[in-house]
Subunit: 201 residues, 2 copies
Amino acid sequence: MSAPQPVEIWFEFASSYSYLAVMRVESAARAAGVTLHWRPFLLGPVFLSLGWNDSPFNIYPPKGRYMWRDMARLAAKYDIPFHLPSQFPRNGLLAARVARLGQDQPWIADFARAAMRANFGEDRDIGQPEVIVDILSALDLPAAQLIDAALAPANKLALRRQTEQAAERGIFGAPTLLVGDEMFWGNDRLEDALAWACRSE
Amino acid sequence: MSAPQPVEIWFEFASSYSYLAVMRVESAARAAGVTLHWRPFLLGPVFLSLGWNDSPFNIYPPKGRYMWRDMARLAAKYDIPFHLPSQFPRNGLLAARVARLGQDQPWIADFARAAMRANFGEDRDIGQPEVIVDILSALDLPAAQLIDAALAPANKLALRRQTEQAAERGIFGAPTLLVGDEMFWGNDRLEDALAWACRSE
């Protein structure tokens, strides 16, 4: 039996279904013995390339109404806190820059969950720098220093480049799980992606 | 313990994910002790109301490429035959009219599965009347008589009305499962819909 392949989770802090996947993925990957790589990116440019200048859940109201109901049901099923955000989508740029900075650091999973929960579980505006400062501080991380580093040109460029890579690899939504080039779109495919990573060739 | 609520499955013969749900729903409902109501409708008018004059899987090529890969994986997982259709979407109008005629008849499930399998498992053009005749005949049904009845003004109107009802009830895609007014969109939600129908109030 060969070792499982690593799994990349591509996610966006403004994305509702990314919230569910981000909250679940670390423990599910650990249970499956799968190494996880975090890949924050920005959905906005990807949506623009599809002709959308807003979330499709706002552009198509019946889909949006359904999505919020579905989110509430799934959050209850997974026992994840959920609070209908008073603003959607929120600006996830700063959170994504911090996550890009930390995507290979031991704190990435905790930060990703905390920022996602702030947006979709606590109705806090993650577009406000002070909210990101709060989140980092609550994790005992050096907030001011990390935000400075996140806003440095090299890190901003790294996030932009990662977003371009998402489109280059065929990603059109979030969350997306990649096992090599095998793509799994949506929180609904989390278990299938991990099973794919574990199958023997 | 109260009896489970009935579940309606709203589906379209041209819809790829409807294929997976239609193939699975009868046995899953039976296992759950849930009464099933079949509700064929036309996705075209619903998509037009969202501004799409084609399948979104054709309008957004990255979504389309992913969908076919996802279909192949899911069909393998469920052990359902799958053959990439040489035409998509196919014209499901005649099949939907026959299904509307028979939606409360004992043959509806067999017909729905056979016509869906012809499209997505056997690459046959269900838009051709002779293919529908073949399917009905193979089920030992009076094909010519049923097609005549399906094309009668009252039945054509009944399908048009059912399609309007789909939009009125908030349906924006297929398959959709309804438990009362509780909506579950997609083959992925089949199990959740049945569980909802069975939960005690």
